[in-house]
Amino acid sequence: MDDSTLVAQAVSRDVAAFSALARQHQSRVRGLLLRLTRGNHAAADDLAQETFLEAWRGIAGFRGESSFSTWLYRIAYSRFLMGARKRKPDEPLGDWQGEAASGESATLARIDLERAMAKLSAPESAALTLCYALGLSNTEAALALNMPLGTLKSHVLRGRDKLKAILGDPS
């Protein structure tokens, strides 16, 4: 069943339809939040649960101007920012532990990427994740992060430059 049908059913308070929507989108929302929390699984899952609960409460307000996933990313990002504001300045975010470290170069490259991502600002990390790993267009990503398109593009460019520097750009 596609998102629009499930959303229509969830708007009429169909818990099963919302559960199906949550199952469909949970991995990507948790992935985005895991990156933003720098690999802190517990914090990411707490924020993801808050995101879906807020979505359940406010699903009647979803007008379909963007895709459902973009709407969820928007809630997730604003939840993350709210959490970041509440967090004390000396309270650290997670320290990326990476997935089970194996000797495979792809895994090592991913861990390197996550550690480099952890050094970016939240908007840069979110912009890069949405535009590349989650495959959103720049317009959709700008909508999800609630920022003008130009600002999003400059976050993407700045983030890329920083990553290249951190990961070792020979040029």
Partner: protein
């Protein structure tokens, strides 16, 4: 690292996360959220019930001290008892929800 290598790395999909435990916890949270109005209502009704029972006790005590027991004096206790029964039923219903 050049641009295309960085693009390849960035475009890797995020690791797939298992829905199992997360979905169960989420649906429990949704159920708790849905039960909230009924819970609040049942607590309100319990409070009203308490007030009604207290009023009935006071009325009973006053009537006993004045020795005024007649058919007319039964109207108020009967009304209070009926109200108590109705509220008990309502509390029971919302507790079931």
């Amino acid at each position: 690292m050049n641009d295309s290598e960085l693009d390849t790395l960035l475009c890797q999909p995020l690791p797939e996360r298992d829905a199992g435990e997360f979905s169960v916890a989420l649906m429990e949270a949704v159920a708790r959220h849905q039960a909230r109005p009924a819970r609040i209502l049942s607590w309100l009704m319990v409070a009203v019930l308490f007030v009604v029972v207290a009023a009935a006790s006071v009325f009973g005590a006053l009537a006993a001290s004045h020795g005024a027991f007649g058919p007319q004096s039964l109207v108020v206790p009967a009304a209070l008892t009926l109200l108590t029964l109705l509220l008990s039923f309502a509390v029971l219903q919302s507790a079931r929800e």
